[in-house]
């Protein structure tokens, strides 16, 4: 029935989506300031046409927010859909085979900036709502919040949520802004890593010294920095900051089995990276190492002479930028301090060490036994014919942890992208088939969610 509805309405739906895409809402470029407002206004109209009770373009400290809601029963559960209407710049234009802001359907794909990220994907949510609402199948309340700064850091979203906690109150957040493992390997992103980032400055002598006159008698800060960093990771890939793993949650046997069934070709992986061998924490697979386990990486390193040839100098200072990707339930503030304390403790008194935390962010995890996750799982299964695999990605989507932090609500990341959709690149696209399957899967989610709730 939903399948038939999508088929019959495909042309209209595409035309509606195209009306959004044609507005070049590039948040990174100041000359598109007015396009941001136009795009938000256009979303407001489309949501009203889709059946919400009310929709508003609301001010924020940056680009406006689009808020909409359909309250069927104040005592029922509420699903909040989050999306973003801003897009990445389309440059370099010359690499596009079609016009980035003039969408076309060709070879079964929509080609345009935003076809996937995130206009195409968030439109799936709007049309799934349209269907269940129109057919009186909606048993829970719906809210929508679309922001216009996701591609530039979402800096207005946190303050907006803080200010409108009651308005945005909900039981689960649905987000379509991630990808599937493959068009026939459905998956749901269940975890994102947190982050802690430090800069270390090691100071030895008060000036660069002649390595002949002083070499061997004075601690070299670059030698010391290498020792400090080199000692952190063991040959077993374990990170040796004392207490670092204390709050790391081990995945369940069920989840590890599901993860083990995610297709992964190690030879292909090595080949694509040009490496002879992989390296990571003993006892975990590559997928677990990036999704379920924390990391320790040098991101930058500098000291002394970096030019041509041989300058014989003992540098006065040596620097490193180091970072850890964190996993639930590691708290970046706690880890941040633990690492600062560690380096201050182990540094020899022959140098002075200054370590500063530059940045941090929370990770996120959606437990695979969370009711809304189960609903999403069945929603996918009904359409793709397979249970979706839970995937924890190694990177971070700060907004997801922001929502959890500020609203106390979990998100379910029902994304329908593909790596080949080339988001952020020229020739971004979205397979029409997958887009239509997305609408069906989200409709199924809503129906299943009412059963779970």
């Amino acid at each position: 029935m939903i399948k038939k509805y999508v088929e019959e309405n495909e042309a209209r739906m595409l035309e509606e989506l195209f009306s959004l895409i044609r507005i070049p809402s590039v948040s990174a470029q100041p000359d598109h300031k007015e396009d941001m407002v136009r795009c938000a206004e256009r979303w407001k109209e489309l949501l009203l046409e889709a059946g919400v009770d009310k929709a508003e373009v609301m001010p924020s400290k940056g680009n406006p927010m689009v808020y909409a809601e359909r309250i069927v029963d104040p005592n029922a559960k509420t699903v909040l859909v989050y999306g973003h209407y801003d897009v990445m710049p389309a440059e370099p234009f010359e690499l596009w085979k079609t016009e980035p802001f003039e969408p076309v359907v060709k070879d079964g794909h929509i080609w345009a900036r935003g076809a996937d990220d995130d206009k195409g994907q968030s439109f799936i949510q709007a049309k799934a709502f349209e269907y269940i609402n129109k057919h009186d199948l909606l048993k829970h309340n719906m809210k929508f919040i679309f922001e216009g700064e996701e591609e530039i850091g979402s800096s207005s979203l946190g303050p907006f949520i803080e200010e409108h906690k009651e308005l945005l109150k909900c039981d689960v957040i649905l987000v379509s802004d991630t990808s599937l493992i493959g068009a026939d390997v459905p998956s749901i992103t269940t975890g994102l890593r947190g982050l802690a980032y430090w800069q270390i400055e090691v100071t030895g002598p008060n000036r660069d010294l002649h390595s002949g006159t002083f070499g061997g008698a004075v601690a070299n800060p670059a030698n010391v920095l290498c020792k400090l960093i080199g000692d952190v990771t063991g040959p077993d890939g374990k990170i040796r900051f004392p207490g670092f793993y204390d709050d790391v949650e081990e995945a369940s046997k069920e989840e590890r089995e599901l993860v083990a069934s995610i297709p992964f070709d190690e030879d292909e992986y090595k080949k694509s990276l040009g490496i002879k061998n992989i390296f990571g924490e003993e006892g975990y697979s590559t997928i677990e190492r990036t999704g379920y386990r924390p990391s320790f990486d040098v991101c930058g390193l500098w000291s002394g002479y970096q030019g041509e040839g041989a300058k014989t100098v003992i540098p006065s200072k040596a620097y490193a930028k180091i970072s850890s990707r964190l996993v639930p339930h590691q708290d970046y503030k706690k880890i941040g301090q633990l690492v600062v304390d560690y380096f201050n403790k182990v540094a020899p008194d022959t140098v002075s060490v200054k370590i500063e935390m530059l940045h941090g962010g929370y990770g996120y995890v959606c437990p695979i036994d969370f009711p809304a996750y189960k609903a999403a799982e069945r929603g996918f299964e009904a359409v793709f014919g397979k249970r979706p695999l839970p995937v924890r990605i190694g990177g971070s989507i700060p907004i997801i942890s922001t929502f959890e932090k500020l609203l106390g609500t979990k998100s379910v990341l029902m994304g329908f992208g593909l790596e080949s959709n080339a988001i952020h690149s020229p020739n971004e696209n979205m397979p029409v088939d997958l887009w239509k399957k997305g609408i069906e899967a989200v409709v199924n989610f809503h129906l299943e969610y009412d059963k779970e709730a």
Copy 2:
């Protein structure tokens, strides 16, 4: 007698030296090309006036060489005096209190570029020769070789020596181009360290990677580089390349006792460097660590992001420039290969390591029981009233090892400079008293040398 001679001839001698100094023979600056030739010609005249049989300005692949000789007996021993007539640039001129190329005597010092390095010092050799020759005290032959490129690397000297081995053949080389510990703490430089210098390139993935997507699953080349370097130096300050110390010669008990009597204030040393504590090889003093023991220093380090803030990246490459100061009888070629082999062996197969030797040079040592050294010791003692202390300096003077390598001859470094003479800096100077003492000490050397020989 020599004292009296110097007093009586002081004004003439100074005027002769000044005639050399007034020629701005700055080898680093091409517009002084003609001054180089003029200065060489002036030296030729002065050596002839001092009593040599013949003197020549000889071509080299760079600035000309001044060669002179006085052969008293073809079967006698021969002393070769080495010096250089080029000087460092005088810039910045505005920091000079007098004109750099217009020498004056003021407050008992000669003030001018080259007053010490090396016109003033090599003139000491010429005037000592003048005295013993004029007074029929010369029992051995004398040769002089003055080059014009010492301040820019002496690159023509090696080829010149190779081409004129017979001409330059000698039993000992006398060099006045180093400093005393203090005006009342006479010392002789007995050792110079050699050098080996490498660059390491560690390559991980074939491009910079997102530290979220890949962190924990791929070896980070900067982490690996830190580990490789951090493992080289032990907590006891020992350098752990296997075989590194095999050829290091231990100093004799007598020499270590003399070295222990060199004045050294550790608190002052730490204060001047701004460090809380010194660090070096266990079992050796600071002076021994820089003079008698090899070192391992990072001279440069770079990888990934060095800018402001937090960029989360796994760098594709990490680099270091590393060097060792070597001591007798470590061969830089052997050590060079040993270190290359070591890193290639210990590097994990998760990265690829390329290590290349950029530069190397031999060290030098003059044994303190070498007859010419004993003669120099007594030469100093007669004038300063104290046995001079043997000092091995941590840096390198490549020409000294070049002479040893090509002629098979040891040098005795009878230098009369002081740190306060500000060589290479504005307001270079030489205390007239010390300069006169130098002439007396070298005269005494020649007399003592004939007894030893």
